[in-house]
């Protein structure tokens, strides 16, 4: 009978195996370890072809143990420093690395390694996707809209930094922990946003990035050291956003804005998970930007249709978010909300505080909002000028089509 393998089993197992073996042999051997694990999957693939093992996961774990022994022999033969297996106690310690909570511990260490402050921020995401999430260079390039060559360079640079700066494979403790955890959350948030706001039409790739970010965040919540209020808030934010992912694109693969999304497509189990996490997040009463962002998305989710959106509440969350983290993107969002509340002059003032170039690839949203303001003021000449600028700057095809449609409706 045909058995079904759990989705992404290989990918997730790759991350686990690399983390366990790195904990045993050290980050210095990361490349050798990755090759050995890759080889395990080639073997699995060939030998499972006709006869799948009863428990694929256990088979792979056993294979990881065998790889441990291979690596031990290989590295000893190369006169590299290897852990001492000869005593019974250390042997037991090695075997224990394959227990569930130790595997999770190893994976967390890998997350902290990937998000280490001594690594170049650009390299952190690629390295995390490769080493923890088991993406190939091609998959990373496609997900992040980068050239494969660029991804390769980033991975090489990250590995070099880890070696040269002797980064330790550990979960930071004490005073160092909060700062390091902040960076981990930031990287996971970036991975999530790469998926959620991607210019890529392929919804599957986007879902995979969002899914990975959620999976890694969930790991943080399973560990006493990392299940911080901010981790809960970030997890909630990701759940809330993901709940809407299916409704962001319609059957014709066109982007659908919040106003026109089919709210019945919003995925309730994720909203529920987000809510549960939010309760944990607010317990100590200290809020991060993730708290406010999650609150804003939750407010959208609460509205049964676009018209019943509580813009007043959303605006006040944005004000709090801006007070904590004054980013131009937040100002832009505030202006958009003010347009919804018919506070046109306030919207205009907010927009004037923004330097469009600061918004980088999202500058088109600035011109789109300015156009919206002029439409409300029935100043169609200025509206068209700005909508043209937005059309010129927008990269995403479906958003471009949306803007063009909007422009045509003005005539």
């Amino acid at each position: 009978m045909e058995q079904k393998i759990i989705d992404h089993l290989f990918r997730h197992q790759f991350g686990k195996m690399v983390s366990i073996l790195t904990r045993i042999f050290g980050l210095a051997h990361l490349e050798t370890i990755e090759d050995a694990v890759q080889d395990t999957f080639v073997k699995a693939m060939l030998s499972w072809r006709t006869q799948m093992p009863d428990n694929p996961e256990a088979w792979l774990m056993q294979a990881a143990k065998n790889r441990m022994i291979d690596l031990f022999r290989k590295l000893s033969a190369e006169q590299k420093r290897v852990p001492n297996f000869t005593s019974g106690a250390s042997n037991i310690a090695m075997q224990n690395m394959f227990l569930k909570h130790e595997i999770e511990d190893s994976q967390l260490r890998m997350i902290f390694t990937a998000c280490h402050p001594l690594l170049n921020p650009q390299d952190q995401i690629s390295f995390a996707l490769k080493t923890i999430s088991g993406f190939s260079i091609k998959e990373i390039a496609s997900a992040l809209l980068l050239k494969e060559e660029t991804v390769k360079k980033r991975l090489v640079r990250a590995r070099k930094s880890i070696k040269n700066k002797s980064i330790a494979f550990e979960i930071p403790m004490g005073a160092e922990l909060p700062e390091r955890l902040d960076r981990v959350l930031e990287v996971l948030y970036l991975i999530f946003n790469e998926g959620f706001h991607s210019n890529k039409k392929d919804i599957l790739v986007r879902k995979e990035l969002c899914g990975e970010a959620i999976r890694l965040s969930q790991m943080l919540l399973n560990n006493d050291l990392t299940k911080h209020a901010n981790s809960y808030a970030l997890f909630a934010l990701m759940c809330f956003q993901s709940a809407r992912l299916n409704s962001k694109v319609n059957e014709k693969n066109e982007l659908v804005d919040l106003k026109n999304q089919d709210r019945s497509k919003w995925y309730f189990p994720l909203i529920k998970m987000g809510n549960d996490s939010m309760f944990q997040a607010v317990e100590n009463g200290i809020f991060s930007s993730y708290h406010f962002e999650a609150a804003i998305v939750a407010e959208h989710l609460k509205a049964i249709n676009f018209e019943s959106t509580n813009w007043d509440k959303i605006y006040s969350w944005y004000e709090k978010l801006y007070a904590l983290q004054p980013l131009p993107m937040t100002l832009l969002n505030m202006a958009i909300v003010q347009l919804q509340r018919n506070e046109f002059e306030s919207a205009f003032l907010l927009l004037q505080k923004i330097k469009p170039t600061d918004l980088e690839q999202r500058a088109y949203l600035f011109y789109g909002s300015l156009a919206e303001y002029f439409i409300k003021k029935q100043d169609y000449n200025n509206a068209i000028t700005n909508i043209d600028k937005a059309i010129e700057l927008v990269k995403n095809e479906s958003e471009k089509e949306y803007l063009i449609k909007k422009k045509q409706s003005l005539f």
Binding site: M1, E2, Q3, I5, H8, L9, F10, R11, Q13, F14, Q38, D39, F41, V42, A44, M45, L46, S47, W48, R49, T50, M52, G134, F135, S136, K138, E139
Partner: protein, 115 residues
């Protein structure tokens, strides 16, 4: 019913550099193909081959090592299937999963000697 050998030729999976995700997807296709053939009762046997290659040749039986990277057309495995005729065997080979990765199937009828 005649018997045919389907011989799979192409780069080894070690050389293809597939990601874990791609490997899982590829394996799923092999499963599906195998299941389909078993259900139809056409598959006799089959194996995947490792990429260790030893060649023995010449009257002095010289043994040479070939590495998978040297061999452009590596035989990666085979199936023996039953079919009415060669067209039937070709039809079975349609579901071979590695065409997109540069793989080739060679269909050869197994010779039967009549007395």
């Amino acid at each position: 019913m005649k018997k045919f050998m389907l011989i799979f030729i192409g780069k080894g999976y070690e050389e293809m550099n597939l990601s874990p995700e791609e490997m899982q997807a590829q394996m799923g296709k092999w499963f599906a193909w195998n299941a389909k053939m078993e259900e139809a009762g056409v598959v006799e046997s089959g194996d995947a081959l490792t990429s260790t290659i030893k060649r023995i040749s010449g009257s002095d039986r010289t043994v040479t090592d070939r590495t998978a990277t040297e061999v452009k057309e590596l035989i990666g495995g085979y199936y023996i299937v039953k079919a009415e005729n060669i067209e039937g065997a070709i039809a079975i080979a349609q579901d071979y999963p590695d065409y997109d990765h540069g793989g080739t199937v060679e269909v050869r009828e197994i010779m039967v000697f009549e007395q």
